[in-house]
C-alpha cells in the first residue's frame, strides 16, 4: 500500500499520514480543534484539490501548526507516498 508520513509531534508542528484509499477521508486531531478544525480541513481539501488527488486517507495530528506548516507537511507526505510507490 502507498503511504507517506511527514512532520512531527513537536509544538507548532503536525504529523501527517497519507494513505492510498478507495474512500476519500480527512481525519484531524488538533490541540486547537475547537477553534481551527474547519480551517484545517478546508486547507487540506484545497491542497489536495489543487493537485487533483482523490483516493487518499489523510490523518493529521496537530500540535498547533500554522497553515503553511500544515501545507508543507502535507506536500512532503504526498511526495513521500509517491516516492514509496516508484
Amino acid at each position: 500500500m502507498k503511504i507517506g508520513i511527514a512532520g512531527s509531534l513537536e509544538s507548532n508542528d503536525c504529523l501527517v499520514t497519507i494513505k492510498e484509499s478507495k474512500e476519500f477521508s480527512i481525519k484531524v486531531q488538533s490541540i486547537v480543534d475547537v477553534f481551527y478544525h474547519d480551517q484545517i480541513v478546508e486547507l487540506i481539501t484545497s491542497v489536495l484539490e489543487d493537485m487533483n488527488i482523490k483516493n487518499v486517507e489523510v490523518t493529521l495530528i496537530d500540535k498547533g501548526a500554522l497553515n503553511y506548516t500544515i501545507k508543507a507537511r502535507l506536500l512532503t507526505a504526498l511526495h513521500r507516498m509517491e516516492a514509496n510507490h516508484a
Binding site: 486547537v32 477553534f35 481551527y36
Partner: protein, 503 residues
C-alpha cells in the same frame, strides 16, 4: 443579570461596578475570636474534628503555603470522610494537583462547596463536569481576607498546617522539616475562624516572634508529616530560556526605563512566571549598573529577590508567600525579609496595604480582550486552570500594571474580542506586552504620551489582535451555552464573572 462589564452573573448576586467602588463602602468586621483557655494538644485529627465540633454543612479552611507538597488538606478530608460528615465547604486559599483525592469526596457529596483563590489540577475538572453541588467561589488573595473578616466567608474550623508549634501553642513557618517561610495567607483564618486547629509535625519549646499567636489557637494536633518539601517549591520559578519570552521581557524593561520606573527607592512586584523572572533579572542588571536601590519588592517571593536583598539592591521584601526554599531560609534569617498577612497585602478595606504602594507590577495572562480585561482563571475553553491569586489586587493597587504574554500560544491568539472569563477588570490594566507589539490602555494618556516617543512598537490593542489573526487565522467563536458552576468574586465582594461547565 449582567454586571457593569456586561458579564452574565447569578441572579441576586452583588454585581461588579468598578474597581474602586469599594471606596464608597464601609468595612465590615465580625468579632475576632480569642480564647482565654489554654491550647489543647491532641494526637489525632479524628480527635481534633470531634473537639472542634465539626458537623455536616460546616466550612473548614486551609492555606496553601505548602503548595503542591501539602498533605494536610487530604488528611483532614480523609478523617472527615471516615466520620461520614457530609456537605462540607472547603475554604482553601489555593488547591493544587496533589489535592486530587478530593475529587472522590466531591463526587460522593462529602465536599459540596469550595471557596478558593486558585485551582490547579484535577479538582477543576470535576467542577467543570458539574460534580460540585454548590457554586464554586473564586476570590482574590486580598478578597479572601475581606470575605473572612466580614463574615461573607464564615469559617467554622480552620485547619492550619504549621511547620513548627511551641508548648504554648504558638506557630511558625520558619522551622521544622516542612518549613515553608511566611504564613501570610492564613492570618485571617487564624483571627476569625470559630475554632482553630494547628496541624504540625514539629513541636519545639518556644518560638520567638511566632506568626501564629496562641491566643487565637484552640487545638494543636500533631501528625507524622504535614508536607513534602519537594512539592513546596513552586514549579515556575526558573527564568525563561525561551527567546520569545526573553524578547517580551526585554521590551518590558525598556518600557520600565522609558517610564523612569527603575529609580532610587522604587517598588515592584512580579509574578513567578518565566517571563516575569526574566524581567527581574534584567531590572537587576540595570540596578547594579546604575547603582539604584529599590525600597521594596513584594508578593510571592522567589530566590531571585532574596539574592537582590542580600546584594543590597532591595531594602525590604514584603512576603506573603515563599515560592522556594531559599526564600523560606531568607525569611527565617533576614530581618528585612518581612512576612505580611493577606489583609496587609491586598485587602481593599485594610489601610496602607502593600499593593497600593507599588510603583509597578508585572503579571501574566491566559487571555486579554479588547477592553484590556484579563483572564488568568480559565483557558479559552472555560476550564479552570488557575485563578486570580493576587492578580486583581496588585493590578488595582500598583501605579502601572503591565501584562506580559505571548501573542500566540500554540496557535491560539491570546488577545480576544472578549475574554472567556474576567479575572481582572481592564480598567486596572495599563500595558500589554507581547512579542509582536505593545498595547496601552487608552485611558492612560500619560503613558501613551511618553511611550509613543520611543521606538517601542506601540499599537492599539485591536491591531495586536489583527496581527495574531493574520498569523494564525481567526479562531472560531465558542458558543457557551453550558450551565454555570461557579463565579469569580472581585476583591470587594462583587461578582465579576461566572464560571461554566465544560463539555
Amino acid at each position: 443579570m449582567k454586571n457593569n462589564l456586561g458579564r452574565e452573573i447569578f441572579e441576586q448576586s452583588k454585581p461588579y461596578i468598578r474597581s474602586d467602588a469599594f471606596e464608597q463602602e464601609k468595612r465590615r468586621l465580625i468579632a475576632k475570636k480569642t480564647t482565654d483557655e489554654s491550647v489543647v494538644f491532641l494526637k489525632s485529627l479524628s480527635e481534633a474534628i470531634d473537639k472542634a465540633g465539626l458537623k455536616d454543612g460546616m466550612t473548614i479552611s486551609f492555606h496553601h503555603h505548602l503548595r503542591n507538597g501539602d498533605l494536610v488538606i487530604n488528611m483532614v478530608c480523609d478523617a472527615i470522610k471516615k466520620k461520614n460528615i457530609r456537605n462540607i465547604t472547603i475554604a482553601a486559599s489555593s488547591l493544587f494537583p496533589n489535592h486530587s483525592p478530593l475529587v472522590e469526596y466531591i463526587k460522593d457529596g462529602t465536599i459540596t462547596g469550595i471557596v478558593t483563590n486558585y485551582i490547579n489540577g484535577p479538582i477543576s475538572k470535576v467542577i467543570a463536569e458539574g460534580y460540585l453541588k454548590n457554586p464554586l467561589i473564586m476570590d482574590t488573595h486580598g478578597g479572601r481576607a475581606r470575605a473572612i473578616e466580614s463574615g461573607d466567608l464564615a469559617i467554622d474550623v480552620a485547619f492550619i498546617a504549621t511547620p513548627a508549634v511551641d508548648k504554648d501553642g504558638n506557630g511558625t513557618g520558619k522551622f521544622g522539616p516542612s518549613a515553608c517561610g511566611t504564613l501570610g495567607y492564613v492570618i485571617p483564618d487564624l483571627l476569625y475562624a470559630k475554632k482553630t486547629v494547628l496541624v504540625t509535625d514539629y513541636l519545639t519549646d518556644s518560638i520567638v516572634e511566632p506568626e501564629l499567636d496562641y491566643h487565637y489557637v484552640d487545638y494543636v494536633c500533631t501528625v507524622e508529616k504535614i508536607g513534602d518539601s519537594e512539592g513546596i517549591v513552586s514549579g515556575t520559578t526558573k527564568i525563561t530560556r525561551d527567546p520569545v519570552g526573553r524578547k517580551i521581557a526585554r521590551d518590558t524593561v525598556k518600557i520600565l526605563e522609558s517610564l523612569d520606573l527603575i529609580k532610587e527607592g522604587f517598588s515592584m512586584q512580579t509574578g513567578a512566571g518565566g517571563i516575569s523572572l526574566a524581567v527581574v533579572e534584567y531590572v537587576k542588571r540595570i540596578m547594579i549598573q546604575k547603582e539604584i536601590k529599590a525600597r521594596f519588592a513584594s508578593g510571592g517571593i522567589t530566590g531571585q529577590y532574596v539574592d537582590m536583598l542580600e546584594m543590597g539592591l532591595v531594602q525590604n521584601l514584603y512576603d506573603v508567600q515563599c515560592f522556594d526554599l531559599k526564600a523560606a531560609r531568607s525569611y527565617r534569617e533576614n530581618r528585612h525579609h518581612i512576612g505580611i498577612s493577606a489583609s496587609k497585602y491586598g485587602n481593599p478595606f485594610e489601610e496602607n496595604i502593600v499593593v497600593n504602594d507599588l510603583d509597578f507590577v508585572i503579571l501574566g495572562a491566559t487571555e486579554v480582550d479588547l477592553d484590556f480585561n484579563v483572564n488568568v482563571t480559565t483557558d479559552s475553553l472555560g476550564t479552570i486552570i488557575g485563578g486570580s491569586g493576587g492578580h486583581a489586587d496588585t493590578a488595582h493597587g500598583a501605579k502601572v500594571t503591565i501584562i506580559v504574554t505571548n501573542l500566540l500560544k500554540a496557535r491560539l491568539p491570546i488577545i480576544k474580542e472578549k475574554v472567556t472569563c474576567v479575572t481582572t477588570p481592564g480598567e486596572d490594566i495599563d500595558i500589554v506586552v507581547t512579542e509582536r507589539g505593545i498595547a496601552i490602555n487608552p485611558k492612560r494618556t500619560d503613558l501613551i504620551e511618553i511611550l509613543s516617543k520611543t521606538k517601542l512598537p506601540i499599537m492599539p490593542i485591536n491591531e495586536l489582535m489583527n496581527i495574531a489573526h493574520n498569523i494564525a487565522g481567526i479562531p472560531k467563536k465558542l458558543e457557551i451555552n453550558n450551565r454555570p458552576v461557579g463565579y469569580v468574586r472581585y476583591r470587594d465582594g462583587s461578582v465579576i464573572d461566572t464560571l461554566y461547565s465544560v463539555k
